[in-house]
């Protein structure tokens, strides 16, 4: 592993100064479950590691039914699924954080890190997109917001400019009669990377879908917002035929490649199956019946 400097700021301001002072050469260290592996493989050349785990804003996890959830970028998975209130309000988030790696990974890995790592297969990102999460990003120059679907821009590349830090993720409060779900397909039971994954959210009203969002993992250069699949549901009755249309739209939106985990054709089929199953579960969580 190459030589690095290490810094552990105790405040957001100090962290931002560290990033500003090391323009482009500093990397945020949260759980390190991706970063250390990449450094060891020579795929991350940053000379300064800024350990962000002691910054209060990045450790925040606060929920209210009115405001929704504010999740600090460094909050590890185990804290999220260990919180009964958050688990009850956002079961789809729990779907994802409880299948990222194994127990040892979940004790360290953060949702913010999974997002910033920008892997096409990131399990948590389809959930963030489906739930309409907004990412709060800060630099010495100010603060801006990025929609979850715009955060990953290429494999391993995120929308952060040099000197910017992801501070927190804001989850809107769950709407009445809404439900969400993430499922993925892997050949093992755990500790694997999705061949494909589907994160969905639905809101029901009077026997119809009033809102829906679908996002897919591992079938495009970035986690993919399949806008058409969600739109295919809006206004339609809560019925298997509506879900079939959305599943077909998700399959059409996927842009997978052949690789060692599966062929493109296989992945396209998975998109339809996983989207259908996830939507069925989301409807059930929303209290609806098919």
């Amino acid at each position: 592993m190459h030589w690095v400097d290490y810094q552990r700021p105790e405040s957001l301001d100090a962290a931002l100064q560290a990033f500003a002072a090391n323009a482009g050469n500093a990397k945020a260290l949260a759980g390190g479950t991706d970063l250390l592996v990449q450094m060891r493989a020579g795929r991350c050349a940053s000379g300064v590691l800024v350990d962000i785990k002691n910054i209060p804003e990045l450790n925040e996890m606060s929920y209210s039914p009115e405001q929704g959830l504010t999740l600090g970028a460094a909050v590890p998975c185990y804290r999220i699924y260990g919180d009964k209130t958050v688990s009850a309000a956002y079961p789809a988030l729990i779907d994802a954080v409880s299948i990222i790696g194994g127990t040892q990974i979940q004790g360290r890995a953060s949702v913010g890190g999974n997002l910033c790592n920008a892997a096409p297969s990131a399990d948590v990102v389809p959930v963030l997109i489906a739930l309409g999460v907004v990412c709060k990003v800060t630099s010495a120059g100010g603060t801006r917001e990025i929609a979850a679907e715009d955060f990953c821009v290429a494999p391993g590349k995120n929308a952060l400019a040099a000197g910017e830090l992801l501070v927190s993720l804001h989850f809107p409060p769950p709407a009445l009669q809404s439900g969400a779900r993430y499922i993925r397909f892997i050949p093992r039971n755990e500790m694997d990377i999705a061949v494909a994954g589907a994160g969905v959210s639905v809101t029901l009203a009077d026997g119809r879908f009033s809102a829906a969002r679908v996002a897919l993992a591992s079938v495009a250069p970035t986690p993919l917002f399949a806008r058409e699949a969600g739109e295919a549901l809006v206004g339609r009755p809560v019925h298997a035929a509506s879900i079939a249309k959305a599943a077909a739209a998700a399959k059409a939106a996927a842009k997978p490649i052949d690789d060692m985990r599966g062929t493109a054709a296989y992945r396209r089929n998975l998109c339809a199956v996983l989207t259908r199953r996830a939507l069925e579960d989301a409807v059930a969580r929303a209290g609806g019946k098919l």
């Binding site: 592993m1 030589w3 290490y6 500003a20 390190g32 300064v48 350990d51 194994g102 360290r108």
Partner: protein, 213 residues
């Protein structure tokens, strides 16, 4: 036990230049690009757990609390906890196998949670309670997880065993009556090439609720 020798944490980039008194930090300061970092070189060695300012890449003095005992050592920030434990402090129970957060042989507890020591920097582990396989028995009395490993013949070559025992201990510490499925979930971050899973699961399952060593 503590040799306190600063050593390089990994082979590549190891320090011929460093032995001649070269460090990247002094080099950067020399050419005037280190404005934000100037001055920090003074505190590098005495900084201990207070790293508001950058430290490294040269060895830094840190203190690790392992099995209730403080150890002072010097590590480069790039040194992982598994390397510091094994190479500098002679805690060789945790094994370095995959070195990429996959196999679980390096599992230790950090503040009561199982963690991969291969994917944790030693410098990050300051101020945290580190527990290794060496610390879970009471003298000759084994921890219940260890005891049931023996009873169920839950190892073959035994190289993955310390990691499995620590992951198993994490399960029974948290839950005195886990289901077999919860045991499987808790062990999913560990791999045994000999395939002793049946015995391992049964050992952890039976050890639950039996207290500590």
């Amino acid at each position: 036990m503590s040799s306190n020798k600063p050593i390089e944490g990994s082979v590549e980039g190891s320090g011929a230049e460093q032995r001649k008194g070269f460090s990247r930090r002094t080099f950067i300061e020399g050419i005037g690009l280190g404005a934000g970092a100037v001055g920090s070189v003074v505190v590098t060695d005495g900084a201990q757990a207070d790293h508001h300012v950058p430290v490294g890449p040269d060895p830094v003095s840190i203190t690790l609390n392992i099995n209730g005992k403080n150890h002072d050592l010097k590590v480069e920030p790039r040194v992982t906890l598994i390397d510091a434990l094994r190479n500098q402090l002679d805690y060789t129970g945790a094994k370095k196998v995959c070195d990429r957060a996959t196999c679980g042989a390096c599992t230790v507890m950090l503040d009561g949670l199982p963690a991969y020591a291969c994917t944790t920097f030693a410098i990050e582990a300051q101020g945290r309670k580190i527990e290794t396989i060496e610390g879970i028995s009471a003298g000759d009395k084994m921890h219940p997880v260890q005891q049931y490993f023996v009873e169920h013949d839950a190892q073959q070559c035994g190289f993955c065993t310390p990691g499995f025992v620590m992951a198993g201990k994490a399960i029974v510490d948290k839950n005195p009556r886990p289901s077999m499925s919860e045991v499987e979930d808790g062990l999913c971050g560990n791999i045994c090439r000999c395939g002793t899973y049946v015995g391992v699961r049964q050992a952890v399952y039976d050890a639950a609720g039996k207290g500590s060593a």
